[in-house]
């Protein structure tokens, strides 16, 4: 569930906020699913970059999840322009799921 960042402190805040953004089908947060790859803050342009993925490229809820991540970040880091990028390189795999997430899925 490693998330690459250039600002550990604010990344921790961002991940705490994203705990409330769920994959509606699975019922787990995007953080516990390990969908967030990278969170970078660029001070010069006041921009916040989020790189994330989905469990499958064909996820019909993809647009909704990405929009929810963007909205949650905009609502928290109000002085930043939030840019969310969806990537499938590398593809998501179950090793990215958090311990809590694994316990939930193994129930």
């Amino acid at each position: 569930m490693n998330v690459i960042t250039n600002d550990q402190l604010r990344c921790t805040i961002a991940l705490a906020v994203l705990q409330d953004v769920m994959d509606p089908e699975i019922g787990l947060s995007v953080v516990d699913l390990g969908l967030i790859y990278q969170i970078d803050f660029e001070e010069a342009n006041r921009q916040l970059y989020v790189s994330m993925t989905l469990t499958t490229q064909f996820c019909p809820m993809g647009a909704s999840i990405v929009a929810a991540v963007k909205r949650a970040m905009e609502n928290t880091f109000t002085h930043y322009t939030v840019i969310v990028t969806l990537t499938f390189t590398p593809p998501w795999n179950n090793e990215r799921i958090s311990e809590a997430g694994s316990a939930f899925l193994n129930q």
Binding site: M22, I26, P60, A63, V69, K70, N75, L86
Partner: protein
């Protein structure tokens, strides 16, 4: 930061709920009407399968229930299957309107065995609806840069559906203006099997092999095996047509039966492998019912083999034919629709109601939009009704069929209750 290539958008473009919901609502109501007809006409199931009421019920189940639901879910899931966008909402609407008007006309005509204008116009309208859907699927596929085996399944299934409904229309006209070399009854089995194998089976295999692993969070995929299934099912259909139309030897049907059985076995193996490799260990009720539908499929396939053997021995079992049709439409197709309705419909409505709120506050889960208790009660009523109805056909007891049909009406009412609970869902304070 990894960015997608210029001009590409990796997100699936969902079809508007305005296009999809009418199909779901229509199918739910058609299922209720079909079950009520089953109750009021249960006596028809103690007679020959070519009974006006049985034909009417078969068509409301095949077209009003099964096909309308597949068309609705098809419009919704097409972007997932082709990895692109639905070509036209207008064509989807036209498809709905023509089918919605045509199906009741057809069913009314069959119920009264009047092959005049209601059957003819009803058949024409249903065919126009299918052409609209076929054009929409073809244009969507052409616009999508990604071609895959699942999309080919969907397109081919729609072609078979058009062939089925065209043959159906020809048979309707042949009742009035006899122009075919044999009477319409002789083509009945061909018409039915093109629909069952070409439309429903190909569609379920093509879409199911993408959706079920996705819901299980399983990474399993095997395009080679999928192509093999595709080849086997289509080969079975072509062999069936050739045997039915051109060959006199009935044992040639055996090749078609072996081919479709092999395709089904591969489908079952595919789903088992996806199931074993799943990340999400617990199955919800909807997935259990969906997997149950695959098990139910074994019943008509077994009957197909038994009927085949009996036919080769020169014997006919008309009651078994009734059970065969019943287990397909009220068994396999109904069970998969039960499962998939409550896997897809809550998401369509959730997206409509909560998409703009997600990320700002906690929103209900899509599964909270319907009642789990009602779903379980529906499943129990359905299974009891299903088993009792088969027993009723086999022993030909009218009161048993009536009781079984009452359970199925109860299941249909519970299904409608949950469907309308979802469709009419209003935003809760978040």
């Amino acid at each position: 930061m990894t960015t997608p290539p210029p001009g590409s958008d990796p997100l699936i473009k969902n079809t508007s709920y305005k296009v999809v919901l009418p199909f779901y609502v229509y199918a739910a109501l058609a299922f209720l009407v079909g079950c009520i007809l089953l109750f009021t006409s249960s006596g028809a199931f103690t007679q020959h399968y070519f009974h006006p009421h049985t034909i009417a019920i078969t068509h409301i189940m095949a077209l009003g229930w099964g096909t309308m639901m597949v068309l609705g879910a098809g419009h919704q899931l097409l972007p997932v299957v082709i990895e692109g966008k639905l070509y036209s909402d207008t064509l989807a609407w036209l498809s709905f309107v023509f089918a919605a008007v045509g199906i009741p006309l057809l069913v009314f005509a069959f119920y009264h065995f009047n092959m005049g204008w209601p059957a003819q116009y009803g058949g024409i309208l249903v065919n126009i609806a299918i052409v609209c859907y076929l054009v929409n699927v073809a244009a969507s596929m052409m616009k999508s840069s990604n071609e895959n085996v699942h999309a080919v399944f969907v397109f081919t299934a729609t072609l078979w559906l058009l062939l089925t409904t065209t043959l159906g229309l020809v048979l309707v006209y042949n009742f009035t203006y006899t122009f075919l070399p044999k009477d319409s009854l002789q083509y009945f089995s061909l018409h039915a099997h093109l629909g069952i194998g070409g439309w429903f089976l190909l569609m379920v295999v093509g879409v199911g092999t993408r959706l079920l692993p996705m819901f299980l969070i399983s990474k399993y995929t095997n395009p080679r095996r999928l192509w093999l299934m595709y080849g086997l099912i289509n080969a079975a259909l072509i062999l069936f047509i050739i045997t039915h139309v051109y060959l006199q030897q009935k044992n040639a049907y055996l090749f078609a039966v072996i081919s479709v059985l092999s395709g089904f076995i591969l489908f079952a193996i595919y789903l088992c492998t996806a199931y074993r490799q799943r990340i999400r260990k617990q199955l919800d009720e909807q997935m259990k019912v969906s997997f149950l539908s695959v098990l139910i499929m074994v019943v008509p396939l077994m009957i197909l083999v038994i009927t085949m053997v009996m036919m080769l021995m020169g014997q006919q079992l008309p009651r078994l034919v009734l059970v065969y049709g019943f287990t397909i439409f009220l068994g396999w197709i109904t069970a998969i629709i039960f499962g998939m309705t409550f896997k897809t419909l809550p998401f369509i409505v959730w997206n409509k109601v909560y998409q703009s709120k997600a990320g700002l506050a906690k929103t209900p889960h899509p599964k909270d939009l319907f009642s789990r208790k009602i779903f379980i009660a529906m499943s129990i009523a359905y299974l009891v009704g299903f088993v009792l109805f088969i027993a009723g056909i086999l022993v030909s007891i009218g009161w048993l069929l009536k009781i079984a049909a009452a359970f199925l009406v109860a299941a249909a009412m519970l299904y409608n209750w949950n469907v309308f609970k979802i469709v009419l869902h209003q935003s809760k304070n978040v």
